[in-house]
């Protein structure tokens, strides 16, 4: 009996588990390097014989308390994760400013000049249909909003511009938008007459002018 127990003690010391500080280091390294959360059982399978991964985890968790990363339980396993309050560091925000599309500007202009105006009316004025995306975009920008329904058959919704719109364009009210005459006198319109007939292509150098007229729809969104 004495011999046996002596042998036991010896083998115990031979396979003695590393000190808890070391075990904590091990758990730290494994949790860091592992591609997925690691269970206590998996930790102990990796660590030297006799280790107490659960205890090492408790200590490690405490050590990371309040740090930039935390030791968290994910299901049955453990992982290191960014502290929730620092999540903003993992995001990179970029703001890109783009010019509003021509379709959107025209739609917006019609709403501003004709409000309250229905979609059908906008389409009639523009001569082309108004895509849903265009209206949604303007709604999302909060430059237009839904107005009252028209008291016409079908009671269609109308669109009006918002205070945000007025604010952005520096207007007191939509009535302050300049009229056609003013636009012309401001030089925004050219008094050039369009070519009387659609020219045939390939007539030579005279075909410069004809393009503006029916063209814009091609570039519609």
């Amino acid at each position: 009996m004495t011999e046996e127990s002596a042998a036991e003690t010896q083998s115990e010391s031979l396979f003695q588990a590393p000190p808890m500080g070391e075990q904590e280091r091990m758990v730290e390294a494994v949790l860091f390097a592992s591609a997925e959360p690691v269970s206590v059982r998996d930790l102990e399978a990796r660590m030297p014989h006799g280790c107490d991964a659960a205890e090492a985890l408790v200590r490690l968790r405490k050590r990371y308390d309040g740090r930039g990363v935390q030791v968290l339980k994910v299901g049955d396993a453990w992982a290191i994760r960014t502290a929730p309050d620092l999540g903003f560091l993992m995001q990179k925000e970029t703001v890109e400013t783009r010019k509003l599309s021509r379709a959107a500007i025209e739609t917006l202009a019609i709403i501003a000049y004709h409000q309250p105006v229905t979609r059908a009316e906008i389409e009639e004025i523009r001569g082309v249909s108004v895509s849903r995306g265009t209206v949604d975009q303007l709604l999302e920008m909060e430059w237009i909003r839904f107005g009252r329904r028209k008291m016409t058959p079908g009671r269609p919704v109308t669109f009006v511009v918002t205070p945000e719109f007025l604010d952005h364009f520096g207007l007191e009210s939509a009535r302050d938008l300049p009229g056609l005459k003013e636009l012309r006198s401001a030089g925004l319109l050219e008094n050039r007459l369009p070519p009387s007939a659609l020219p045939t292509v390939g007539d030579g150098e005279d075909d410069d002018e004809e393009i503006g007229a029916g063209q814009p729809e091609l570039f519609e969104d």
């Binding site: 390097a33 970029t94 202009a109 001569g127 319109l189 393009i211 503006g212 091609l218």
Partner: protein, 253 residues
């Protein structure tokens, strides 16, 4: 050549494929001298090397040209070292050549030792590890759209005066549309029984100005594709950037 040297040379020959050039052979041979590389007898080394080459020849082993160039040079060096110096001769002295060869051997050995130390270091993915579960930086892109009052007024002016006026900002005189290209091509393709270059369908007066040429080329090409899609035309290009050619597609074929 001593017995030891001969044994060494034979061992080398068996392994001749394993050498990284004549300097490597010299370095290996120098080890048999069992002295510091700086104290090496270059004369003896030259003899060893020449013995190695002779032996290889006797065994009908093919040595690369590098090895033979080195042999010729060592033979020259040997004679330099054995004969009294000729004061009329130009060029480096035998001692200078010996010093440089010793330097080369020492440097190569040093680099090999350094390489071994480098490879023996703790290495990423073997001894130490990076984060296994890296968190990507999520990119949040916000697009804000903007327009000016001028844009708005011009937009409105454009719509309201579409039938009367041409807003002056619209500068489209250099644009040839696909519709125009189609109109131009439709009557012409009936005559294209043989492969004809795409550029011959471009309108008159659109060749010289690069902006207009670009527009006309693009629209003519787009129109060609449209006509191919409609089954009126065949299109081919023999190589990247080669001319694009068109041919009428006979109905029913």
């Amino acid at each position: 050549m001593s017995v030891v040297e001969r044994v060494a040379a034979e061992a080398l020959i068996v392994d001749v494929d394993g050498f990284e050039g004549p300097l490597d052979v010299l370095l290996t041979l120098s080890r048999t001298q069992k002295v510091d590389l700086r104290k090496i007898s270059v004369l003896q080394l030259a003899r060893q090397y020449l013995g190695f080459v002779e032996k290889a020849k006797a065994l009908r082993l093919e040595l690369a040209a590098d090895y033979l160039v080195m042999a010729a040079w060592l033979a020259f060096l040997k004679s330099r070292l054995l004969l009294p110096p000729d004061p009329t001769e130009e060029g480096p002295s035998g001692e200078e050549l010996v010093a440089h060869l010793a330097f080369q051997l020492e440097r190569l050995q040093a680099m090999r030792d350094a390489a071994a130390r480098l490879m023996g270091r703790d290495r990423l993915g073997r001894d130490f590890f990076a984060r296994g579960q890296a968190e990507d930086v999520t990119r949040i892109k916000t697009v804000t759209y903007t327009a000016t009052l001028l844009d708005l007024m011009q937009g409105y002016a454009r719509i309201r005066t579409r039938d009367e006026f041409r807003p002056f900002v619209m500068d489209r005189e250099s644009i040839f549309t696909m519709e125009q290209a189609l109109d131009r091509m439709r009557p012409l393709i009936g005559f294209a029984g043989t492969w004809t270059d795409l550029t011959s369908y471009m309108p008159e007066g659109w060749h010289s100005d690069p902006v207009r040429r670009r527009s006309a080329t693009a629209s003519t090409f787009a129109a060609s594709l449209e006509l191919v899609k409609e089954g009126h035309l065949e299109i081919r290009q023999t190589d990247t950037f080669a001319p694009i050619q068109l041919r009428r597609k006979d109905e029913g074929s």
